[in-house]
Structure formats: C-alpha cells, structure tokens
Subunit: 193 residues, 2 copies
DNA sequence: TTATTTTTGTAATGATTGATACATAAATAA
DNA sequence: TTATTTATGTATCAATCATTACAAAAATAA
C-alpha cells in the first residue's frame, strides 16, 4: 500500500476519544480535548473521520455496544444466564470512585442528547432497548424453566431491570460507595426471583 | 426607589431560562439562547446576574427545588402521605411527550455536570438526597403505623424510590408512552406495600 | 530515480462562545 | 430644574469553537 504510514490507528483514536466523551459528555468535549487525548492533530483527525466530532462519538458509542454484544455471547453459553446478569449488577458496586462517577456512557447519552442531536440520542436509546430485550428474554426462559417464581410478565421485568440500570447510573454518583450500592443492588435483584 | 424601572424581572428571567436549561442542559445552552428566551439583552442579563450563566442555572435549579418543598408541605398535611407519593409517581405516566423527553432537571444535572462543574453537580445531588430522605421518612412512619408490611429498612426503600425516579427519567425517553409507563410504575410501587 | 499516494503537522478559517464597556433611557430625590 | 441612580441596548472583547487549507513528510509503484 502506498502513502505515508498511519501513526494514529482509527481504533485507538476512538478508544481514547471514548474516555473523554464518557467523562465530559458530547457538548462539553472540545476538539482540542480530543486532540490532546488522542495525540492526533487536526490533520490526522479529519483525514480519518470526515464526519468530525460527531462521527467519532457515534463510533465511541458503538464501540461500547460491542461490550454488550460480548456479554450476550457469554450469556448464550451460560447454564444460568439470570445469575450472570445478577452478578453483572453486583459487580457494579465494586467499581472504583471514578467508574461510579462516569456511569454508563449510553444512559448518559440519552439524557444529554435528547433535544440536542436526534441521531445520537436515538442510537443510544436503541442500545438500551437491546439490553432490555436481552433481560426480557432471559427472564422469560427462566420463568418457563421454573427458576423464577414471579408471574409478572417478562416484558415488565425486563423494563424493570433497564430502569434499574439507568437509576443506578445516578445513584452511583450520589453514593459512590460499595457498601451502599451493594445493599441496594441486592434488594432490587431480589424482586426477580 | 430611583433609577430606570425594571422590565425584566429576576424571577421571570429565571423561569424562562429554566425552560431552556431543562431541555438543552447547561453546556448546550448559550447566552444567545437565554437572551432569545428571556428577551433580556446582555446589559440587563449581566446587570441582574453578576454570576452570568452559571448563577442563572443555579437559580433555575433552586427554583425547581421549591416545587419539591411545596410537595413536602402537602405531605405533612396529608393523612396518607405514602399514597400521595405513589400518586405523584402515577401522575408521571400521564405527562405529555415533551415532558417525558425533558425528564427531571435535577437528575439531568447530576448526569451532565459530574466532571464539568462540581458546584452545580453537588447541589443537584443534594436535592436528590433531600427527596430521598423525604421518601425514607414517610416509609419509616408508615411502617410504624403498620400501613406497610415490608420489613425492609426504610433507608433501603427510600433509596429504592430515588433510584426509581432517576431510572424513570431515562425510561420515559425510551418510551414516552402513558400505557407503557403506567404498568411499570404500578409494578415498581407494588414493592412498597 | 521519479511519480503517486496517503498521513501528518501547522496555520488559518469564520462562527460562536461568555462576558464587558459604555452611552443612553427613564425613573426619583433634591 | 438638575443631579443621581438604575436598567437597558448595542457594540465590542478576547477566547474558544469545529473545521478546512495546504505544504511537508514518508511510504510504495513505476
């Protein structure tokens, strides 16, 4: 292949940009912030991402979506997928202070982008709905197996869990404290049993 | 009193500014946006609020806090405060599309301001904690009265409700639909009984 | 070598940001 | 009336915004 070799890999720019977006959100992150974080100057930046800031944000969000897809794979190989989901919630309590304050970039995006950018907002909403659907399906199957006694509709319980996820996104910032969060998470998970 | 009479009342500027902040958040709202919404030019604006944009945002948030204080008064005069709280949650489902998308300005602020402005973030967190405490106290008293059977600690149930409130803040944007929200709210309120 | 291609770094773009300067308007007090 | 005070409207500020322009760098192909 011809041309000057690439120093700043697309994937690396996205990763570094994601870190900044995750903390500061979309509007409060400047191109200057991104250039500092990625090391890439304006030349490389716009050569790689013609769509500029917005394209990189979209890709940072989609990058996060991959983590979810990967979790979905774990689920399908698991013997007790519900326990996997519960353990995932439980693991949140153990995160460090900074992770608590960062929260979930997808949930953050829904809140920030609602009247600002419809594309960014709706793609974040879609991801949350996919996660919700995953919750719902696992619950439905465990109800059939009889592992879950509650007869509440799986669609309601799936929405309950995604609501919890989004609520936890703020509770973590109010109380970035393992002990507080641990008790809350156990209490809310007990509803699904 | 001497001097040219005031056209743009402080309280009116704050109200109009709050509408914009509520929709667009802090960072994405420009002084130009505020001037259009309030009618006040830069002269009046900075004459009234020496602290500029940030001071007005603080006051818009505190203005919202008054709505909460007023609800607290209703509560203390009520014979069944828990039912009042539940009805408040139930009323959320009936809001119109735009209100759903706006969500709660306090919860929004916690998410947006975390790494941006510590003053604004922590004052929003404090308000959420006050609301949580109100929940907790009502639950505690109803447990003593025997109206609530659940023996779960009132502190846990209070945090459960504030977590629900913040989760609903995002669920409403995913499903700005009365029927969907109604069922979810009933399901989550049923936990406190 | 030379031509071609791609990336990089830097300088500049015009627009917008939040905030200030300041003259004028419009009231009251003396 | 005249002096004083306060609010308003407009012009302007430097800083920053996202983006573009473009020449130099650094590789391969011919």
């Amino acid at each position: 292949m011809r041309g000057r070799p690439t120093i700043y890999e697309d994937s690396n720019i996205i990763k570094k940009a994601q870190e900044v977006f995750w903390q500061k959100g979309y509007s409060a992150t400047s191109l200057s912030d991104l250039q500092k974080a990625t090391g890439a100057g304006a030349g490389s930046f716009y050569n790689t991402f013609k769509g500029g800031k917005k394209e990189v944000f979209q890709k940072a969000v989609q990058e996060r979506r991959l983590a979810f897809t990967s979790f979905q794979n774990e689920l399908s190989n698991s013997e007790s997928p519900l326990e996997l989901i519960k353990d995932f919630f439980r693991s949140i309590a153990k995160a460090d202070q900074n992770e608590h304050l960062k929260g979930c970039i997808i949930a953050n995006t829904v809140v920030e982008m609602t009247f600002i950018d419809e594309d960014l907002e709706s793609s974040a909403v879609q991801i949350l709905k996919e996660v919700e659907q995953m919750f719902t399906e696992v619950i439905k199957s465990e109800q059939l197996k009889g592992t879950i006694k509650t007869k509440t509709a799986p669609e309601i319980l799936g929405k309950y869990l995604i609501t919890f996820w989004c609520g936890l996104n703020t509770l973590r910032r109010m109380y970035p404290d393992e002990n507080v969060l641990k008790d809350q998470i156990e209490m809310q998970l007990a509803v699904i049993s």
